[in-house]
Structure formats: C-alpha cells, structure tokens
C-alpha cells in the first residue's frame, strides 16, 4: 500500500499559505482509501474524509456517531457536532446512536478518525482529565465515542504537535491506544484495532510493530527531526526511511475552502 508518508516532494513548496488545520486535513485525507468505511469526528476528521471522497475516494463512506451512514456534507453548512440534522444531509440511512456504534464492534469500520487533546508514546488518548483525575487541574469533556472507536478499530488522530500534548504517559487513558506497549492491548482484551497514524502539523507518525512505540514515518516540507523531537515530550523513534510529504495542493485547498468557507474548522 502506498502511503502519503512515502511520497517524495518533487516540487518546491507552494506559495499558497495554508493553516495548520488545512495542513492536518490534507495530510489525513491522503491516508484514506477508496471503499473504506470511516467513522469520523467533527472538524478536521470530517473535512479530511470529505476531501478524500471528493478527490479520489468516491466509494468512501462516512459514519457519524449521531447515527448517520454516508452523508454528503453541504458546503458552508458544516455541523457543529456529529448529532445535528446537518450530519444527515443526503445520507443513506439514519439509525440510533447505539446501533451506529455497534457497527464498530461488528467489524464494519476500517478507520476511526478523531482529534486529540493529549497523546502518549503508545498512542493512548486523554480527553478526560489534565492532572490527577481525583483532583484535576482541568476536567475535559470526556470520551464521547472515543473510547468505543479506539477500542474497536484502527485509528487516525489529527492534532497539533506540541510538547504539552505529546507526553510520555497520558494523565488518563480515555481512548486506548497500545496501552503500555508490546502486547498489552491484546492482553487487556482489546483484540482488534489500535492506533495506526498520528497526523500533526510537523509529521506523520506510526507505531513500531513490536514495541508499539510512536515513530516518525514522514515529515512535512521544511520540518527537521530536531524540531519534531523538540515539540515532543518523549523520545521519538524515526523510521529507517523518512519520506517528505508533498505540501497541500491547490486542488485540495480549493475543496477544503469550498466546504468550510467561513473557516469554522480551518481557521
């Protein structure tokens, strides 16, 4: 399988300016494949999946946690959550929340795709507590479907690459990645799925097959290894061959800006 991370940039970076969110959406969209069923969160995940659908994956199906199968989002009417009527536009089916989530457990979903507040070296995500859960500095909104999606399918996470977000161990495992690494995820009873790719404004990362530690697979144009490491709160591995990703193209940016003309999610 070819992968965005192995694509060598053959052209000089474009002059077009793009935002961090646009970069994340473009890079993540290139990880999608035609025919896949993608369980998408709101914001960058939805934009990325729709972008893939528009440009090269017409048979890709989006599922929303609110209970929607296969919507076509109306440009300029991006939903503020996965539960609004805007999520149902031109969809194939609406169904109860529990039943759409059960499609993950049944095994119909190829990719779960969400944003992240805090991630650790084994790809565990925290969206519940910053600090001690018994006496938190910040109480975050919680799992929503994150725990279910990451427990049951292969995951892509898109987030900003910052030291405070990339920590050795998350304060609280809301959505399980590879837990403590090695075979600990499977041993805990989570026999399928797992964190597959982490897309940031600096790089694209995957996880070592054995240790399950995060490692860099590709870097964005103009980014250095030192820069990535300096923005990460633990020691990152680097794949033997590091690809340089091609910067967002005009066609990709045009679709994103058509979908989100008010820059609700791409500012």
């Amino acid at each position: 399988m070819t992968d965005a991370t192995t694509v060598k940039a053959e052209t000089a970076p474009r002059e077009d300016a793009f935002t961090t969110s646009e970069l994340l959406a473009v890079m993540a969209s290139r990880l999608m494949r035609n025919g896949q069923i993608v369980f998408a969160g709101i914001g960058v995940p939805l934009l990325a999946a729709t972008l893939a659908q528009r440009l090269f994956a017409p048979q890709l199906t989006i599922l929303f946690e609110g209970g929607t199968i296969g919507p076509f989002i109306v440009p300029g009417e991006l939903p503020p959550s996965t539960n609004e009527q805007r999520c149902t536009r031109r969809s194939n089916m609406v169904l109860p929340i529990t039943d759409v989530l059960l499609l993950l457990q049944r095994g119909y979903v190829d990719i779960g795709f969400m944003g992240g507040a805090q991630i650790d070296r084994f790809g565990n995500l925290n969206s519940s507590f910053i600090g001690d859960p018994e006496d938190p500095k910040i109480r975050l909104p919680g799992t929503g479907g994150g725990n279910d999606i990451s427990s049951l399918t292969n995951m892509i996470v898109a987030m900003k690459h910052e030291k405070r977000r990339f920590v050795a161990d998350v304060d609280f495992v809301t959505s399980p990645g590879w837990l403590k690494g090695g075979r600990s995820r499977e041993a805990a009873g989570l026999t399928h799925g797992g964190m597959w790719r982490v897309v940031t404004d600096l790089a694209i990362m995957g996880f070592d097959e054995e240790t399950r530690e995060m490692k860099v697979l590709g870097m964005h144009h103009g980014v250095t290894r030192e820069q990535i490491q300096a923005n990460t709160g633990f020691e990152l591995g680097f794949a033997k061959e590091i690809g340089i990703t091609e910067p967002p193209g005009a066609a990709e940016l045009a679709v994103l800006r058509e979908l989100d003309p008010d820059a609700l999610y791409t500012a």
Binding site: Q85, P96, K137, D148, S151, V173, P176, L264
Partner: protein, 323 residues
C-alpha cells in the same frame, strides 16, 4: 437469589410496569402538571444528544419547579447539564461527554462544578450509555461489551461494572449494568394524546430510554389525532403505553434543534457560552434568572429568545427538506 443493587431488581421492574395505567387513554397536560411526575432524587434520563432534540421545555419546567438531587443521565450532555448544575437541580450527571458543543470550547460551568467537587460527572463511553439503556429496555440486568476494558474510563467506574469470561468463547467481556431511569424526558415532532410518538430524523437513544424508564414524559411540537398516527404507523417509534404525560411545547428544544423544524439558535448559544465563560457562577445564574425564572410561561420564554431568532432557526431547520 441475590440481586445487585446497581441494577433495579427484575421483580420491581415488572411490578412497577404492571402498576402503570396502560390503557389507551388521553394524557395531555401542561408543563407544570408534568413536573409532578418527577420527584426529588429521581434518576431522570434525557433524550436527544448534545444540542439536538433536547427536551429543553421540560428541563426548564423542572428547574423552575425547584427539583433537587436529580441523577441525570444522557448520551451526551450539553447546555442543559450546565443549567442542572447551576440551578442546584442535580449534582450528579451520568454521561459520555459534557460540554455545550465542541465549537464553544470546554464548559466552564461543568469545570467549575467538577473541579471544585461541587458535583459529579460520571463518565461512561457513548456506546456503554447506549448499551446500558438498551439492557434496561430489554428487561435484562446487563449487556456484555468489548469496550470499556483496558482504559481508565472503565477503571474509574470499575465498582459498577463486571468482567466476565464468555461461556462460549472464553473471551473477556465487560458487563455493563442496565439503566432503568425513573423518568425519561423525550421531545418529539408529533404524537397523539395517548402518547404514540413519531420522531423524524436522528433517533439517538430515545427509543431505548422510553422502553427502559418507569415513567415517560413526552413533549411534542404538536399533538395530532390518533387517526393521523394510524395513517402512518410505520413512523411511530414510541408506543403509547410507555408514556405517562403528553405536553404540547412548540419550539420545545429551543435554543437547541429539532430535526426538520429548527436548527440550533447559534447566536443565543454563543451568548450563553460567552457569559458562562466570563463567570461560571454569575453567568449561568444571570441566564437562569433571565430565561428560566423570569418568564411566566413557555411562550414568554420564546418571546425572550426573539422572533427573529425563532424565524432564523426555523428557516435553517426546514432546509433539510429542500433538494
């Protein structure tokens, strides 16, 4: 035979159901009358999800009636969770996600109450909430699940879950205890006077909640005739005999949305988010004074939201039916 206190004993569930008047009878009443079906300390399940088909009119009426110590559960909790905490109606919310909506940032009111240990936000995964209601709807004490294991979300509620080795496969599964709420609050687009409810668009967890609960209060955009229901019985999702009260409450989700009729009142939600972010105590208090305690009637409340806002939300809401 011992029964787990986490789960309502089956004999009690059956007895309470038998005791309900399940005749084909009219049960239309006012918001105020319907509040008498909710008692202090009750477990109240809320239909809809985030800012969609939230039974705001009934939440409004319960807060005005001064209910206390409610245990509130919902798939995802939004503005109404803030207001339950801020009004003192509840100090315990069971849900998978709690904040008005992702575009407004983390709720400062939720943060204030949980970080200062004034109230409890009991976190379960979204599917777990759904499976718990479904177990309740099915009349079984638990549902097995392949999530909530391995994570801290599961560990944090470990006292309330069990792990079982599957007798068929030997796999380890999480067992999630059934939820049988004392009362379910559900808003629908239309129902008849008996409580046969038709809901358009996304169903969320509402049907399971209705089946699981001991009492159901339906608020509805409009009450239609039983004949009208009988013309399209395939669209009826909640049967009358689960329903105890029918309240006609037009725009009963405002400022949240009701599928096909109105979208969220975005400017109003922006305003609420701004004042509650400025001061997580005085902000929601001022909001409650102005919108919850001040208006004399539900119509007064809608008038305060403003005709322009109502029309704008309606215009956007009805657009789902445009090609």
């Amino acid at each position: 035979m011992s029964s787990d206190p986490l789960v309502k004993p089956y004999s009690a569930l059956r007895r309470e159901t038998l005791e309900r008047d399940r005749g084909l009878r009219e049960k239309v009443m006012s918001l105020e009358e319907a509040t008498t079906l909710v008692h202090d300390g009750d477990h109240v399940a809320i239909g809809g999800c985030t800012v969609s088909r939230t039974p705001i009119a009934m939440v409004w009426a319960l807060i005005r009636a001064g209910r206390r110590e409610l245990v509130v559960s919902r798939s995802i909790t939004s503005t109404e969770g803030d207001l339950f905490f801020a009004s003192g109606a509840s100090r315990h919310i069971v849900t998978s996600w709690f904040t008005q909506g992702i575009v407004w940032g983390v709720s400062k009111v939720m943060r204030h109450h949980t970080e200062n240990k004034l109230a409890r936000f009991e976190e379960w995964s979204h599917m777990s909430m759904g499976l718990r209601y479904r177990a309740g709807a099915m009349g079984i004490p638990f549902m097995p699940s392949r999530t909530m294991i391995g994570s801290d979300v599961g560990k944090r509620v470990a006292d309330e879950t069990r792990v079982m080795q599957c007798p068929f496969t030997g796999e380890e599964l999480a067992l999630l205890p059934a939820l049988n709420p004392d009362v379910a609050l559900i808003h629908v687009q239309r129902c008849d006077a008996f409580g046969n409810a038709q809901l358009d668009g996304l169903q969320f967890m509402d049907i399971d909640i209705a089946m699981a609960a001991t009492r159901v209060i339906l608020t509805t955009e409009r009450v239609v005739t039983n004949d009208q229901i009988r013309r399209t019985p395939d669209r009826t999702r909640i049967p009358f005999f689960t329903v105890d009260a029918v309240v006609e409450a037009p725009f009963g989700c405002a400022p949240h949305e009701c599928y096909g009729l109105y979208e969220p009142f975005f400017a109003h939600l922006d305003h609420y988010a701004a004042i509650s972010a400025r001061d997580p105590v005085k902000g929601p208090q001022a909001y409650l004074d102005e919108y919850y305690y001040g208006p004399k009637t539900w119509s007064d409340y809608l008038a305060k939201l403003g005709m322009e806002a109502v029309l704008d939300a309606s215009r956007r809401g009805r657009s789902v039916y445009n090609d």
